[in-house]
Subunit: 342 residues, 2 copies
């Protein structure tokens, strides 16, 4: 049997904490034998939640006490510094001390980003750790990198994102020689803003990635590229518009279907098929967003995540650990640094 | 009767030229009596298209010869300089000489942007003319400003966009006291990239606009704001993702509906309602994108526009002229300049 992967789950992060994180932990250890989950949070509360589930492998869930909770609205840097006994800080420190392989939280994005960098620390050579969710496409999924970690990034950061994203897609998602593209406002090399114009030739010259050029936002949902590289502000707009537009379209369609007797009848018939289709296009179905390039894995799930997303986030950590992603990223980033010195 | 509004239509711009632009011209003058259309392009070709329509008010369509065509792939600045007898340059110069009120084209965006600024010229006080399409939302439409004219814009440009956008929404679309928001990656004032952080307080302090703060991309489709202010790169990503995501979702849904006999039957019943719903959410249904802040109106329609979009673009020009939008923009921009000098 392969080694147990130890994943810390922030029991107090997200809109539905501690219920959903605890439920996810129980489901994860029940479904897979190679996972151990460590829940951080107030002992009483976490145990009260666990008590709801009489039948799960109890030896693979551990509770580590943490009395404080970081709220979404708190300024991240200060929260990390002050709330040393928060579920988030306690969890991240376990990864830092290598008592756990990974950390999953639905809590404050800001605090996770800051905490990941400050408490867990960057891999040698990594300039900025990007937040990189999988987004649904016609063909399956693409990696959107960076979607919120480093606003106003530099071109060298984007090149590292392309590299880390390629390693992730190849090893975690299993896409051989993943196609990398940079988000742009036209297909031609001379198009774009200053950052894209500076980054484009660097990506073209970057060894070991399959760079296919620019991608216009209209081609992202079709799955034209496997790794979609962009600066965090743009990436965040893409991710959130994905969510918002899908939601609005569905509301519109549902409203439209209720407009006549004929369409109401049809709606009844198509309901199961429609539900299945929409599920495949739901951003939350694909687990959380990993913060890449750290000395351990940190995964951010939606604030509104339910147990299924958190569980998928936990499974992602297992794949990540077993595929030795961090070791691979570390080697490649150092190689890149060597090449650029030559 | 109100005065005739003279609109030049680039007969040679777009994927379906000259058929669709000519058809749009015929439809526009047939539907409304207050429009005169001037078609620019090779006389023979344009007349051959017009000959398809025996019955339209011939006195309100005029053909002005232009022998050259600017292709989408041509570098814009050089194309404008060299192809002086192109349908685009000839048309824009008519607006410049006030022989026409407005210019509508489905041709090269780059050439239209450059030509608009260089040939028609900016209104006094306008720093950068933004491209501002109407995008469909749950509530109706919002104005996305800027969606592609000025990449790497400065904060003062964005403040002018907010002002011009407000005037447009109030007078052309008829929304009283339109809500203005800036695209951001969080709701709080301290969130964002350098540009947004700099622009936010300026918008807050700007008189005469109804600034409601940040808008996250997820809230754009719901119609949370009427005027959505952003830098051109981000705006272009939003516009194109709107198109791409809607298309992909529809393909997915159609595929899903063909998956069983039950859902196929349902699909037949919902088809009319679904079609109507999707039409209301089609970016191309809302006419073209005006390039605001010029000494005349320039409207860019999709390269793939059919006559209905071009016709809506022409109608937009009438509203624009009759509501004296340019005069209003001119006054307000000068007021702003005066205020900032105080």
């Amino acid at each position: 049997m392969s080694e147990l992967v130890k994943v810390v789950v922030d029991a107090m992060g997200g809109d539905y904490a501690p219920q959903e994180p605890v439920k996810a932990a129980v489901e994860a250890v029940t479904e897979r034998k190679d996972i151990q989950v460590i829940l951080t949070g107030p002992e009483d509360e976490v145990h009260a939640q666990l008590a709801k589930y009489p039948d799960y492998p109890k030896d693979r869930i551990q509770v580590v006490p943490a009395t404080e909770v970081i709220q979404t609205a708190e300024p991240p840097v200060m929260a990390i510094q002050k709330k040393k006994d928060s579920s988030l800080v306690v969890g991240l420190k376990m990864v830092k001390r290598q008592e756990a392989d990974a950390f999953v939280s639905c809590g404050s994005t800001g605090a996770i980003l800051v905490g990941g960098q400050v408490l867990v620390g960057r891999l040698k050579g990594v300039e900025r750790p990007p937040l990189a969710p999988l987004i649904p496409t016609e063909k399956g999924v693409s990696l959107l990198i960076d979607c919120g970690a480093t606003v106003d990034a530099r071109s060298s950061h984007l090149v590292q994102f392309a590299k880390m994203g390629s390693i992730y897609m190849e090893n975690v998602v299993g896409i051989k020689n993943p196609k990398v593209a940079i988000v742009n406002i036209g297909a031609e090399e001379e198009k774009g803003n200053a950052l894209v114009k500076e980054t484009f030739p660097l990506l073209k010259a970057c060894p070991g990635i399959n760079f296919i050029g620019s991608i216009e936002a209209r081609d992202i949902p079709s799955g034209y590229a496997d790794v979609v590289v962009c600066e965090a502000f743009v990436g965040n707009v893409i991710l959130k518009l994905y969510e918002g537009l899908a939601g609005t379209l569905m509301k519109k369609i549902k409203g439209g279907l209720m407009s006549s007797f004929r369409s109401k009848l049809g709606a009844l018939l198509i309901k199961p098929a429609l539900k299945k289709t929409l599920k495949s296009f739901d951003v939350t179905e694909h687990g959380g967003a990993p913060l890449l390039g750290l000395k351990g894995l940190v995964v951010k799930c939606h604030g509104s995540a339910r147990s299924i997303e958190i569980k998928n986030g936990i499974f992602q950590c297992v794949q990540f650990k077993q595929q030795r992603i961090n070791e691979k990223i570390g080697e490649h980033i150092l190689e890149m640094a060597d090449t650029s010195k030559e």
